[in-house]
Amino acid sequence: MTSGSRRTGLEKTMKTVLLVSALASLLIVLLIFIFTMKGALPAFRELGVWEMLSGTTWRPGNGEFGILAMIAGSGLVTFGAVLIGVPLALGTAVFLSEIAPGWIVKIVRPSIELLAGIPSVVYGLFGMVVLVPLVREIPAPGNAGFGLLSASIVLAVMVLPTIASISEFAIRSVPGGYREGSLALGATKWETVSRVLIPAARPGIISAVVLGLGRALGETIAMIMVIGNSVILPAAITGNPLSIFLSRARTLTGNIAVEISYATGVHESALFATGVVLFVLIMLVNSSAGFLLKRGAR
């Protein structure tokens, strides 16, 4: 009986230990949010939440702390990265899971994993040295190469490994019966991929994209190096609306990183407020994924 009660005791202890480890991450998220919020409160109180969110000028010297330009910067660069990165990543995933023979998979997959291991500052360097000069070649007045386009391309490559490998796994996990069933009805490989496999793998692909979005929104140093960092509301620089991507911009993350070392008082608090906005944006992205998943499950 003693051994029995000892085992029950261990069982209870283990339960508690596991519960505590699960709660730890929740607690940490909560603490970070509270801490950031606390830092941001003076700015919110003094300048007004809405005024900060909708303000387009950020001039700490003048006491102006509008962060709309940075929200637009982060939003646009992430949108651009998704536009470039998702098709590329999905293509890679389909190629690796459905088309490539084993020996090619053995070469390509590790190189994609290697891509994930490159430090972001190195991506930034690559962007500055290779991409920016290339983008500068696009003839448009005021195009310096530094801007949303260069940043979007860098970011697309950075999120590619995440999205590609999770999507590949999702497509591989689709039961073989769907594949056979579709082919047996006279579908070609491509029809099978586009009409059965990708829809069936949708939940996994959505998770992959959301993880990529989260990473894109949070990326800092590589963005600082290629996006130009001017606090301006991005706008088309020629008659072509697409030229908005040639505009310089600043991301929310970059705003904090560039200025926090010398900021004091309201300025410092406004940077914390930038952090809160970033936090909320990422939460919005994650919950919209939950919504999409639920709709897909129907």
Partner: protein, 257 residues
């Protein structure tokens, strides 16, 4: 075999997985609008053989073949595989409806082959579901997911899906082995209906099932090199009562396998 038209046939058909010979020089004529059952112990190659008729073995790397498989007298290897599979449908061992609505499952094939008109599709979907004897059970909600049906219903949905592309031949690879006895009976009744319009070839583990549903039975067995051979082929009644080959008799009477 007299008075029957041949729908599919093979001539000296052998199949290799790499160097391993899995099917050894098989000759058979599958009659039109009849049910032909393939029986034999596990590993005798009957599923592999069935999958030769719609070239599903093409998907397996390293498979090579010699001899021919013919549909209406034409070598299927020379046919466009998409067109071939439209003419030769298949129902699998495990029901495999797509994670789509019942309607979209049945409309999948016709849409692939170019039917876009909404009302024509609706007519075809209803006709196919009726032929597969599942219309009455699902007609109230065709938008429901095909995955939400019971196993037996899913299998009939898969049969409807195969019928919807208007094939000539339906291959069934142990279509009832994952189903309960009631659902199995329904599938068997359905097969009897279907043979009016289609040629059916079925692989089954269940000898009683072969005896109940089929008109012709093919008995397969591996030889000393583990290659599948066709041992005997004939009218089901003859195979089950007066088999010519002693190994067929041993298998039928349950002495092995």
């Amino acid at each position: 075999m007299e008075n029957e038209t041949t729908r599919m046939s093979t001539e000296d058909y052998s199949l290799y997985y790499g160097k391993f010979k899995a099917l050894n020089s098989i000759n058979i004529e599958i009659p039109s609008n009849r049910i032909t059952a393939f029986i034999g112990p596990s590993g005798c190659g009957k599923s592999t053989f069935l999958r030769s008729f719609n070239r599903m073995n093409d998907l397996i790397p390293g498979v090579t073949t010699t001899g021919t498989v013919n549909l209406d007298g034409r070598d299927v290897a020379r046919e466009d595989v998409v067109k071939l599979r439209k003419k030769v449908g298949m129902v699998f061992q495990r029901p495999n409806p797509f994670p789509k609505s019942i309607f979209d499952n049945v409309a999948y094939g016709p849409r692939l082959h170019g039917l876009k008109n909404r009302s024509e599709l609706a007519v075809l979907v209803e006709k196919s579901l009726r032929q597969a004897a599942i219309w009455e059970e699902v007609k109230d909600d065709l938008q429901k997911s095909g995955m939400s049906l019971s196993g037996g219903q899913q299998q009939r949905l898969c049969i409807a899906r195969a019928i919807a592309v208007e094939p000539e031949v339906i291959l069934m690879d142990e279509p009832a082995s994952a189903l309960d006895p009631v659902a199995t009976l329904k599938i068997e009744e359905l097969m009897n209906e279907l043979k009016k319009n289609y040629t059916i070839a079925i692989v089954t583990h269940n000898m009683q099932q072969a005896g109940r549903v089929s008109d012709y039975t093919a008995f397969m067995l591996t030889d000393q090199n583990r290659a599948g051979n066709l041992i005997e082929f004939g009218a089901t009644k003859q195979i089950f009562t007066t088999p010519v080959n002693s190994r067929t008799e041993d298998y039928i009477s349950g002495r092995f396998g």
